[in-house]
Amino acid sequence: MTAAPATTAPSTTTASGASPITVRSWKAPIGFAIFTAIAILLFFVVGRPDLEGGNPTTTYRLSEARDAIQLPPLTLGLAETTIVVVLLMAAATVGTVLLSRASVRVPLWLTTVFAVLFLVGFLTWAAAGATVPMIGLLAGALTVSTPLIFGSLGGVISERVGVVNIAIEAQLLGGAFMAAMLGSLTGSPYVGLLGAMVAGALVSVVLAAFAIKYFVDQVIVGVVLNVLVLGLTSFLYSTVMVPNAETFNSPVKFERIAIPLLSEIPVLGPILFRQTVIVYLMYIAIFLVWFGLFKTRWGLRLRAVGEHPTAADTVGINVRATRFWNVLLAGAIVGGGGAFFTLAAVGSFGKDMTNGAGFIALAAVIFGRWDPIRATLAALLFGFATNLQSTLSIVGSPVPSEFMLMLPYVVTIVAVAGFVGLSRPPAASGKPYMKA
């Protein structure tokens, strides 16, 4: 049956003491118990039979050679660490059972602490007998996350204005291609970056035209665009770039710029402030999108159009134009993120080099509940999972590499399915606005 229209009175009274009905969700205790069981299985049943001799240790390196302030490395013994971690995890699990029985929501900080505990235990177990470069691990995570964050910022803007953007992948790939092409031709990474933004916006023009003007299903247009851009860039790559790699596919990369003072902060400095211009632009973009969406006239109108286009129309806001220009803006932001692949990370274009990043960005939009800050955090989580996998395969972990490759996607599914649950997207997202 249909839900009551939005204009009716709230027909509900909250479950009060007088009411016999209480709501209990067992999702959290079950999830906690499963992860505790996995931890026990990995740490004690499987263990590290490959390592010989008493109690192996794991070393965490917290500084790099060039840092001005050197922190001593942290060494954790496998046995002590895993026992403490499992005990704490079990305690947290019991805590969630008690909370759920009392019909109290499990607080987010508890889930976060639990996840960090599991992570510490897992890292110590997987890297036992080796050294984990923490700076490299986290800086690498930021590198992997950067295009995801650009992608999710574009996704947030687009969905908030009412257009579902499945084409993030296409915008990233188009941006990466154009950045490589123009960056090579002109020798300027800045021109490449601008070109990438134009490429992303061009993909958006197609999406916007079909979705807003011709009312074509937005998901279908998005999927088609992904396939189209993949085909187009692959074709141009093999016919134009490969034979003339010198001219067309060797862009000048952005230099890393260390920000004075900030880059000397222990641990954080090398991770956050020895980066390329694109990453610094990303910090600014995250702030501007958040500020713009929630504090300015632009954001108020944008959100109104995505929530209730008819209401926006009746106060004189041009719904279609608002949607069109903001979808274009979203495309430009995502396209700029695509430039990161070719102008900062790799240094040349490769076929399908985004490799599904756009879809992970889309998941980050939903996991982040259409909020730029939360979506950024979600993208960072996925980036961390990806980089953890490659770091562990370098230090040599006992987990088969095929399983490790699944890690980011498992994290995505668990995060979106487990922790988001019922979240509320912008009410008119995906719905074309038709006037009589």
Binding site: M1, A4, A9, T296, D313, V315
Partner: protein, 504 residues
């Protein structure tokens, strides 16, 4: 400001929604636009508000011809509108809604929320509203949401204010308060257009009345005109406004509901410990403002709600836990409140819609095959019996008028052997002729010995049909009273109060 419409014509394909309509509204006057559903009132106002472009005709404000290409133009010319379906963003605050489209900003593009708040407070104070500018719209009762709509229009300095069916969602008390606000606005010099199909309200508040029928102005009337005069102008023939209904001859208890509680996904209680019983040959009307649990109550009986506790027994059989199929097989007929969404499949024919709830067994399905000849015979018979005006039984239901659609739903539900009949909002959006027909069939069903539940938000309908009235408020039944209970008492109960004479 004086508003004048001259020769406004608006066509949708072959349909002429407005046919050369003339209307003049003087400053400081409440001008009622009276007409049935579908007469063209809302179309006319959407033309005035720039949402539609008129095919012919002119809009004049203080004798100057206007041309509106969108609502923005109409607003800046001084026209404000309180829409039937509120044009508010549910997740925004009051202040954000009021400023939307008309925002003042501080340097750096920062929204000036302070200014919007003080504007809300200033207008609230003028009319004695008690509105928190930082409350979210979705947390506010409808009556308050409507006041936000009024504030929104006034904050843009509207001199002409259009109220489009504003009382549909209000309790009788809230309606009275709205009338007082309208009078106050009029006395301050605002021109008011009040669109409605409710005669009582017209006579109470109007200074002048213009009646529209089938897209044309059919006459003007003074507020002193009688209900019968206004109704016959509106419908085009003499109308009997009362339902012809003999005294009830109730039998034994048929339906017994005990401690029924319904919760939603998030655990909010929608129906809260409701108990009542219903006898054969009796109409129980469930009254209340939209959204107080009536919908969920009927859905719980039909097996359409999943988080249900308590007991619903029909002739001694428990219905909770049964599938909807099982409930139908127990002999329950159901007219859902949204016939287009839940009652019919618009793309299917009249005949197909008539067999929707008998798609699994005989007479229309034998060995997995549709018995088309039997179905056609049945459909022809029902179309005649229920006076469904259509080209034939193969006409798609979506092409029928609301009244004829509802007759198809009634024909389907009443053609089974019923032990209980539930009609939710059975006449919503229907013309007077269809309303008479539907009411007659409901009374006939009662007289044949079937227990009947009528859910309605229209007090007129409740009073006309009910043998007993149960009033719901916030998921609870406030009280069950006799059918002849005074309206004022019912109105208080709809606002959640228990008047002394009921409590006693």
């Amino acid at each position: 400001m004086k508003l004048e419409l001259r020769g406004i014509t608006k066509r949708f394909g072959a349909l002429v929604a407005n046919d050369h309509i003339d209307l003049a509204v003087e400053p400081g006057e409440i001008h009622c636009l009276l007409g049935e559903n579908g007469a063209g009132k809302s179309t006319l106002m959407n033309v005035l508000y720039g949402l539609y472009q008129a095919d012919e005709g002119q809009i004049l404000l203080d004798d100057a011809v206007q041309s509106f290409s969108g609502p923005g133009d109409a607003m800046s010319a001084g026209i404000g509108m309180v829409h039937q379906h509120f044009m508010l963003i549910p997740v925004f605050t009051v202040a954000e809604n009021v400023m939307l489209g008309n925002e003042s900003t501080k340097p750096g593009g920062l929204l000036d929320l302070e200014e919007a708040r003080s504007k809300v407070e200033e207008i609230s104070a003028r009319f004695g509203f008690d509105i928190d500018p930082d409350a979210r719209i979705e947390d506010l009762p409808v009556g308050v949401q409507q006041r936000v709509e009024i504030i929104k229009a006034l904050s843009r300095n509207a001199n002409v204010l259009v109220f489009d069916e504003p009382t549909a969602v209000l309790t009788p008390q809230e309606t009275d308060e709205l009338m007082a606000i309208m009078r106050q606005l009029r006395d301050e010099g605002t021109s008011i257009v009040f669109i409605t199909h409710k005669l009582r309200e017209v006579r109470e508040v109007a200074d002048r009345i213009t009646v529209i029928r089938l897209g044309k102005v059919v006459g003007e009337a003074a507020p002193t005109a009688t209900n019968a005069e206004l109704a016959s102008l509106m419908v085009g023939r003499a109308v009997d406004l009362t339902v012809d209904k003999g005294p009830a001859a109730p039998g034994d208890d048929a339906l017994v509901v005990r401690d029924l509680t319904v919760t939603d996904l998030r655990g909010q209680v929608l129906v809260d410990g409701v108990s009542f019983s219903l006898r054969r040959g009796e109409i129980l009307a469930i009254a209340g403002v939209q959204g107080n649990g009536q919908t969920e109550l009927t859905e719980a009986i039909m097996g359409l709600q999943h988080r249900v506790h308590g007991s619903i027994s029909l002739d001694g059989e428990e219905l909770i836990g049964r599938s909807t199929r099982g409930v139908l097989d127990a002999g329950v007929g159901f007219v859902p409140e949204d016939r287009k969404e839940d009652g019919l499949i618009a793309e299917m024919t009249i005949a197909e819609n008539l067999m929707l709830d008998r798609s699994t067994s005989e007479p229309f399905v034998k060995r997995g095959t549709l018995q088309l000849a039997d179905l056609a015979r049945f459909a022809e018979e029902k179309v005649r019996e229920f006076d469904v005006r259509a080209q034939g039984i193969a006409t798609r239901v979506g092409r029928l008028s609301g009244g004829n659609q509802q007759k198809v739903v009634l024909a389907r539900e009443l053609s089974r052997d019923l032990r209980l009949f539930i009609a939710a909002q059975p006449t919503r959006g229907l013309d007077v002729g269809s309303i008479e027909f539907v009411h007659k069939r409901i009374v006939e069903t009662r007289d044949s010995g079937v227990p009947v539940i009528v859910v309605s938000t229209e007090l007129d309908e409740v009073v006309a049909l009910a043998d007993r009235i149960a009033v719901m408020y916030r998921g609870r039944i406030v009280g069950i009273v006799p059918g002849d209970t005074p309206r004022a008492t019912l109105g208080l109960m709809m606002a959640g109060e228990t008047p002394a004479e009921v409590a006693a």
